[in-house]
Assembly symmetry: C2
């Protein structure tokens, strides 16, 4: 039974790592004062033996677990997968382990996961976007847990981030669409409530209509969860209008792939009968026929730079900056040039 399991002591760890108990203490309390090799040997003995310091008798803040937590809205459709993979590779190179939780786009689940990761000793957290209850940031501040956001560039929030400007990126794509002669534009957006990336993309498209003398309020917009079936349903509904759009701009590539399938189900050709655009440039966008015109997000660069920035915050070399990365347009077969 469990009561028979012996609890490893500081002495056990010191013996296993071949160092003094003082060195083990130092590794746990002030790791920056211990050389890399020794630290790794000691931490490996700590993990191997399952030694857990007596938190009640120590100041927890000084202890470091070399674990970083990340909470992403979804693991499906691999929207966040490539960035997360690069994030993990860079953390690994710096001696940190990544634990991930997925909130299903539900703020209350995200909050639960934040508290759980903090309780499990995460040294720092990566979150997607900034749009959440301010109490969450207060809590993390009170626990002195550095937090960095990815996927957004919203410098006015004052929150550390490594990301890109969703609004400006969608503006650029919409300008290209308009330059190609499209005037009847419809949008399939992700759910904007609690999602500043989705909201920014809708604003960017409206900005572009306005800047080109079109009425942003007249544009049909359907909000729906990110999912292939949802994109297909939304496209069918948009194409039942009297004045069909010539282009359906989607909040991400998953919706765009769905829109493509919805059009095919209706016997419509893309881009001859209707053009479709996406956002993200995930692998899906190049697998379908025709390939999807989209905004390329620098997934791997974002993941790598976020890891560097967050470790700098955890190791107190930085209090966190706001870093903007560039997105680029990928014009592919799903968008028709009406001038051509």
């Amino acid at each position: 039974m469990s009561q028979l399991r012996s609890v490893p002591t500081l002495d056990d760890v010191a013996r296993a790592a071949g160092v003094s108990t003082a060195t083990v203490s130092r590794c746990l309390n002030s790791p920056e004062r211990v050389v890399e090799d020794t630290r790794k040997r000691v931490m490996s003995a700590v993990e191997h033996l399952g030694y857990t310091p007596n938190f009640g008798a120590r100041v927890m803040a000084a202890r470091r677990t070399f674990t970083i937590g990340a909470i992403i809205p979804t693991m499906e459709n691999a929207i966040f997968a490539r960035a997360l993979q690069a994030f993990q590779e860079e953390l690994h190179a710096r001696g940190y382990t990544l634990l991930v939780a997925s909130s299903a786009y539900q703020p209350e689940i995200e909050e639960e996961q934040i508290r759980s990761l903090v309780a499990r000793g995460a040294d720092g957290l990566l979150l997607i976007g900034h749009d959440r209850d301010p109490a969450v940031y207060d809590y993390l501040k009170s626990r002195e847990i550095p937090v960095l956001s990815a996927w957004v560039y919203l410098p006015d929030t004052g929150q550390p981030a490594v990301g890109f400007d969703n609004r400006r990126s969608m503006f650029a794509l919409a300008q290209q669409v308009i330059d190609f002669g499209h005037r009847r534009i419809a949008m399939i957006s992700g759910i904007t409530k609690g999602n500043d990336r989705a909201a920014g993309r809708v604003l960017g498209l409206r900005d572009a209509l306005q800047a080109n003398g079109l009425d942003p309020e007249a544009m049909p917009v359907i909000e729906t969860p990110y999912g292939v079936e949802n994109g297909a349903d939304a496209l069918r509904s948009l194409m039942q209008a009297d004045a069909r759009p010539t282009v359906v701009m989607c909040g991400n590539d998953v919706l765009a792939v769905g829109a493509l399938r919805g059009a095919q189900d209706m016997g419509l050709s893309v881009p001859q009968d209707v053009s479709v655009t996406g956002f993200d440039d995930i692998e899906l966008a190049r697998i379908v026929t025709p390939q999807i015109t989209t905004v390329h997000v620098p997934h791997r660069e974002m993941g790598r730079k976020a890891a560097i920035a967050l470790v700098d915050m955890v190791e107190k070399r930085s209090t966190g900056d706001v870093v903007e990365l560039k997105s680029t347009l990928k014009i592919r077969g799903s968008l028709r040039d009406l001038n051509g």
Copy 2:
């Protein structure tokens, strides 16, 4: 600075939850003796305040964190995403939080993540497949951490699992392919070393050749990491042979989608010039044209049943069973019936 952060006490938790300190203790040490509502209120106060019991003075085993760890080989291509989503939903319904790590198919990274999850207090672990260093199982046994595998049914190992028979599933698909008149069969497999799912699928295909009087040793097999580009490269190389295969059977849908693209790049039509099959039935398989013939894996059922089984192990209602789920064939446009 960090030294100013006050450490919450048992009294703080009791006050916040509106219960006695004895009840808090009971929640931490014998949660099964506390009614659900009270336990949730206390655990929420524990997480909210960031209370950490004095491990040194307790028997750690009796403590439960209501955190489950899962380590999957990759987050890319969403191979494991749907099952993991169902796993998490079921855990959430039972009051557990899921933390995920991704090992990039590297055993040494997986080991590091196992130790980290155990050190962070995971009550139980979900792993993919059984094929790993026995020392890992010894370690988990010595720490009394229940571990359950998914994606495999290999009862001879004696390890608890909720999965399906990869070998028998691939046998069934290969039998269908042979019934459709195919004799020149080639395979694009994932890397089989350390991956009992990939290895089982190769064996299943060889079994079917043998059972039908074909020479399993004569079948061309390319092993390559799971990736769209890898599948495309492998197909091009297989199609350069003098006697081209009439069908290329792939170890999963990601490779099959790559093979499809490789064929298209060579100007070959699927299935007129060459048939392609996959395995898993992830969303990708139905998004491409033609849709991929594949083995349907019961992703959501597997995730849900794995959660139920693992929580039963953590809460000592079970020592872990070996559960077999059924896979089914999905015959779609990418496979040509040569008799027809």
